[in-house]
Symmetry: C2
């Protein structure tokens, strides 16, 4: 069987940076008695996070669990400033592994809101990145998260509307929602905070999906950007399958096909993709 991997596969810049920072901190404090915490997964990939846990990282269930004198790593998706202030006040050292593109979205959101724009965040309401961006906005009464078209009805008319978008959103969704928001304001300032890596990865997945018989998308099930790749691939290739790793592969899927494409999310190591490739190539 022929197998092709989508261009721009492998860890993205922000994910790789967060992992490097975490590895560095774990190594640095290895022989001291200092605990290293995160809240939630540093990146959305269970396999990768499991390795970090083995190296000593502790995922706290709750803020209260993090003990004074320990080190706290801010996940790649970012977090709000209040909790970090509280942790600092408890004598906890903060290491910020927020993706620089997410930081930019947080900062744009904060600035737009402080300039008096009613702030719209386009993204998944329960995604940590979106929750974190929202927490950076001081004026809590003038911010809304719009996840899909239905949410637009709730948005009232405002003279000035500012828009930021989850860094891993699809450009199609972004365009659709913005076009529906236009009627709601007189002045609309849009900060397109979708990161370039996301765009490139989405485009290369789309192109590959068009030309192969079967597409396999590899990535964490809670990874927003991987889910978007699945969504995009399905549009161009109904034989698209979403797996977390090679263990979930079902060889019946590729039956009758000649060419298989593989793509992976921003938090999917190339290794995971190669593992899937090796198995399919043998058929």
């Amino acid at each position: 069987m022929n197998v092709e991997i989508a261009k721009y596969s492998g860890l993205c810049f922000g994910v790789k940076r967060a992992l490097d920072i975490t590895e560095h901190i774990l190594k640095k404090y290895k022989n001291n008695n200092v605990k290293i915490y995160s809240l939630g997964q540093i990146i959305h990939n269970t396999g990768v996070v499991d390795k970090l846990l083995k190296k000593g990282l502790v995922i706290a269930a709750d803020e209260a669990e993090i003990t004074p004198g320990s080190v706290f790593i801010v996940r790649s998706h970012g977090m709000g400033p209040e909790i970090l202030k509280r942790l600092k006040a408890k004598n906890i050292k903060i290491i910020n592994a927020t993706c620089p593109f997410v930081k930019k979205a947080q900062s744009k959101a904060k600035i737009l809101s402080s300039k008096g724009y009613y702030l719209v965040i386009i993204g998944s309401k329960n995604h940590p990145e979106v929750i974190g961006i929202r927490e950076h906005v001081k004026n809590k009464n003038s911010v809304i998260v719009i996840e899909d078209e239905k949410d637009i009805d709730v948005l009232r008319k405002n003279n000035r509307i500012g828009i930021v978008v989850q860094t891993t959103s699809t450009i199609e969704k972004f365009k659709l929602i913005v076009s529906k928001i236009i009627e709601k304001g007189k002045e609309i300032l849009i900060e397109n905070t979708i990161c370039d890596t996301t765009k490139n990865r989405q485009n290369s997945t789309k192109e590959l999906a068009k030309k192969v018989d079967v597409m396999i998308i590899v990535g964490g099930k809670n990874s927003a950007n991987t889910a978007h790749l699945v969504e995009i691939s399905k549009k161009y290739n109904p034989r698209t399958y979403y797996i977390e790793n090679y263990k979930e592969l079902n060889l019946d899927w590729v039956k009758g096909g000649k060419n298989v494409g593989i793509s992976g999310g921003a938090s999917t190591p190339l290794e995971d993709i190669f593992n899937v490739k090796k198995i399919i190539e043998k058929i």
Copy 2:
């Protein structure tokens, strides 16, 4: 035959204001030997303009024709600042009858451009309003008029794009074009300069078109906003006819129908609409 006139018919605020100003000036200088000029039609309605010509207004064919010591009235659609400077320098008195909503669009365009945004004007390239807005932009190398989807390909990627729109554009076209521009910039500042009257008139025309057998749209053939009403009406009622005045009415159009709707552009006097109504009602 039942005839219903669309809500929000009759002259819009800006057109009425331009006519009032012109009538006032014509009256004021009636007994002096002062010539009163305009360039192009003060408003886009031949019938109305003909009446002004009879009262003494002169439509100059060219800037050079306007003589020192005369009065020059800026049409409702506005004009660029350079020509007005030249006329002033020739000792010509300028009376500005530009619609205040057009003035706002001119000012927003100027501000966006001076703030460093690459300026996009959405509208008809050859319409005097759009030409005038463009002339208000100092940085001539960083402005483009986008009339339809095809023009978007010419727009290069820019970090910062500012958008204004012809005051009489349809919201549908505006939304469509903005959604296509989104990919071209990182920061996009949209000033929705479509005037409220335009929106109300378009909506009421749409609602009426849905419920009647035949729609008659009355207005100047060079009137952008009337042409948009025809476009909108046709979407909801294929039996839509566009006439300049009652003389163009063809009674075959309403045959077999029970209910006829009439709507008119922003520069169509209510009188013109009533004249059409009277004729159809008699059937």
